[in-house]
Every structure is written in C-alpha cells, then in structure tokens.
Amino acid sequence: MNSKNIISSVGAIVLYFLIQILVLKNLVLFGMAFCFLYIIYLLLLPIEIKTIPLMLIAFILGFAIDIFYDSMGLHTASAVVLAFLRKPWLQVITPTGGYDSNTPPSLLNMGIGWFLMYSLPLILIHQLTFFFIDNIATSLYIPMIYRTLSSTAFTFIIGVIVQVLFYKKRRGI
C-alpha cells in the first residue's frame, strides 16, 4: 500500500463516518430498515490487509459511531465480528486464479455475482450481532428478524449505489 492509497483510505474513513452520523443516523425507513454504510468501508479495504489491523480499525470506527448513536458497545461489537470473519470468508470464496494484488474487493473489480456472495453474508452477520445485542433483554425476536433482514437489504443497496457512483475500477476512492 503506497502513501497515496493510505491518504485516500484515511479520507474515506472520515467521509464514511461523517455521512453515517450526520445523514444516515436519521434515515430509518419505516422504523425498521437501518443503513450502516460504514461497514461497506470495512468490506472494501484491500484484500491484503491482515485481520489484526482490520479489527483495530473496526473497533475504533465502531466506537466513534457508538458515541454519536449513544449506543455504547453495539456498533463496536458488531463491527469487530465483521472484521474478524472477513479474512476467512475471503479465503473461502477465492475465485479461480486467486485475487489480484492490491485491489479492493469491490463490485466493479470483482463483478456483481462475486460481490453479492462476499458482502451479503458479512452484512447479515453484522446486523444480526447488532440487533441481537440490542434486543438481548427483551423477547422481541420476530421484530428483530424483520429489522435484521430489512437493514441488510437497505445497507447492501446503498453500498452498491455508492460504489457505482463514487468508485473507480482497480483503485480506492
């Protein structure tokens, strides 16, 4: 990763964070579908990144978002789960011929079919962790499932739109 990539990554994390807390925090469709766009940032980091730095990034990002959501620990816990599972999942779904070096595993680089298989399970696990911890003391499991599924779909759709609009092929932002 050269210095230009690092600068654009840092810029992207700040941008994702600001959009999450300023815009998407107030955007909840039907009181059900949340949009956690910041996890798209975690998903789109280069494939080479190791699990440990990724988990630390996820922890810090989740913690910062938690402070603004007043939901201490919720985003942190679920983002760390996502970061921990990303590398093993990437290994499981390696395409024939392996990955190109230093490319973000984005929609444009890898194609819609692969990206769907890569991101949907990870987003689903993130949302499931999030809403499970949120509802752990209540017994509202049916609404929890609705929320999880609708939020997964919403986050995925917004993530795809963001990539199509703002990402270029073979590079980060």
Partner: protein, 278 residues
C-alpha cells in the same frame, strides 16, 4: 514454554478478537446499567459541540413546529395564571410555604435524538454550567420525555422514555390508580402501564399522568392516554397499552424539572422504611 508462546502467537488474531469483543460487551453492560459509570456518551464536550454545530444547520427545518408548540404552552400557562390570580375581594394565604418552591424548571434544546433502537438517548445543549444535574426529569408541552443520565459542563445526555429500562411512576387520572410506565421496545408511540391490579376498572381513553410518588417529576404531568386494556399473561396485573402524547420523532425544545426540597426527605424516609422492612 516456547511452544506455548508460539501457539499463542499463531492464534493472536483470535485472542485479540476475544479481547475486543469482551471490551465491547463490557461497554454495553456498563453503559446500560442505571448506576453504571458513564464515561463516553454524547454529552462529552467534543461530541456535544459537534452535534450543536450540526443542529445549528438543521434547526431551521423545525422552526414552524417549535413556534406552534411554544404558542400552545403559552396559552396553557396563561390559562393557569388566570386561575391563580387572586380576585380583589379575597385573601390568599399559602398554607404550607415550605412546599411552594420545591420544583425548579429549566429549558434546553434537543441536539441529538434517536427513536428506533431499544435503548434510545437524547442529547441536550445545556449542562452543569446551566444548572443541569443528573436525575432531573425532562418533559415538553405534550408529555414526559425522560430523565437526565450524564452531565458534562455544557451538555447533558438523557435516557429517553423510549428506553426499555426506564420506569416512570404514573397514575390513571380519573381513578388515581398507580402504576409504572415502561416502554416495550415496539413502537415509538406506544408504551405499557404496568402493575395495575386486575380488579381496577380501566376505561379506554383515560388519561395517564405522573404520580406524586416519584422524586423526579411533579404530580400531574401528562404521560399518555390509554389505548388498549386486556388481561394479559401475568396473573395479577392488567396488560395496559398507552398512547404516548409526546411525539418523540420531532423533539426540539424541552423543559427540565428539579425536585428541590422533597428529594432528600423522601430518600431518607424510604431508607428508614427499608431498614424497618428488613
């Protein structure tokens, strides 16, 4: 020994994962316990000033509604004032002047709010410098909003009534039956009135107000109206759903109330009775 270290090194990612998760869960638990220490929340000065700046842009969208609410509150207060004014041919003697100034009111602006999680919080733009203290009650012209949880110098964070752990001592206005209002986590307009015994007759549409039993709110502040009554699963109590009169999705300005005189007395009294009960 070296093997153990090598083994630990080989599973370092998993160990870090466990550590970070434990830390996160500890944050969840300590933040949500009512007595827990609150170090990080939206009332710290950096977050507060950030939210304040954001609100200075977005507040213009709700100005109309805010004006309407203020006018409504003014009308209510004027009606009350007219009743309180002594007529010229009568004498007003306060019977118990010690109770007269037992409540102090303040106002603040909401700069951050959420309604969709199970544990919702609100951030206000006033803090310890403006006389806000932990435990103060928060309400607006429509009804009860919540209770102050953490205070920094210039900002305060409030547990919303839409938080499944917050109980507010309430009563049904027409029959004076006591219960506790608690949110069940489903809709931001509905809550449950708990601990109302089965023999009580409850009518749909009755008003629920705060009772004088709590040390936080003055008696008679509006909470909601009864929406649905059923026998429910619990053997001794009715299952009552109330419609919250406060609209949590459009909160702008709120009032804070502090119970000055009663709190210390009530607390010490309760301690005495508790020690007797034990």
């Amino acid at each position: 020994m070296q093997r153990i270290l090598l083994f630990l090194y080989s599973i370092r990612a998993f160990l870090l994962f466990i550590t970070l998760e434990t830390l996160a869960i500890w944050l969840v638990v300590s933040y949500n316990s009512p007595q827990g220490a609150v170090f990080f929340n939206s009332s710290n000065s950096f977050t507060g000033s950030f939210l304040n700046t954001k609100d200075s842009f977005t507040e213009y969208f709700t100005l109309g509604k805010t004006n309407e609410a203020l006018a409504e509150k003014n009308a209510q207060l004027m009606a009350k004032l007219a009743n309180l004014k002594p007529t010229k041919d009568s004498v007003f003697i306060p019977l118990d002047s010690g109770m007269l100034n037992s409540y102090e009111f303040r106002s603040a602006k909401v700069i951050n709010n959420s309604i969709n999680l199970r544990t919702n919080h609100i951030t206000l733009n006033k803090g310890a410098n403006d006389g806000i203290k932990e435990g103060m009650g928060v309400f607006n012209e429509d009804g009860i909003i919540g209770r102050v949880k953490g205070v920094s110098n210039n900002y305060a964070s409030v547990i919303s009534l839409l938080h499944t752990d917050l109980l507010i001592s309430s009563k049904i206005k027409s029959t004076d039956v006591f219960g506790s209002t608690q949110w069940d986590g489903k809709s931001s307009q509905k809550a449950k009135l708990k601990y109302v015994p089965r023999h009580v007759e409850v009518a749909k549409g009755d008003t629920v107000v705060t009772s004088g039993y709590n040390a936080v709110f003055p008696e008679g502040l509006l909470v909601g109206t009864i929406d649905e009554v059923s026998t429910g699963t619990e053997t001794n109590y009715l299952d009552i759903t109330i419609h919250l009169t406060a609209n949590f999705s459009t909160l702008t300005y709120v009032y804070l109330v502090e119970n000055n005189s009663m709190e210390v007395e009530l607390d010490s009294l309760q301690q005495i009775t508790e020690s007797v009960n034990e």
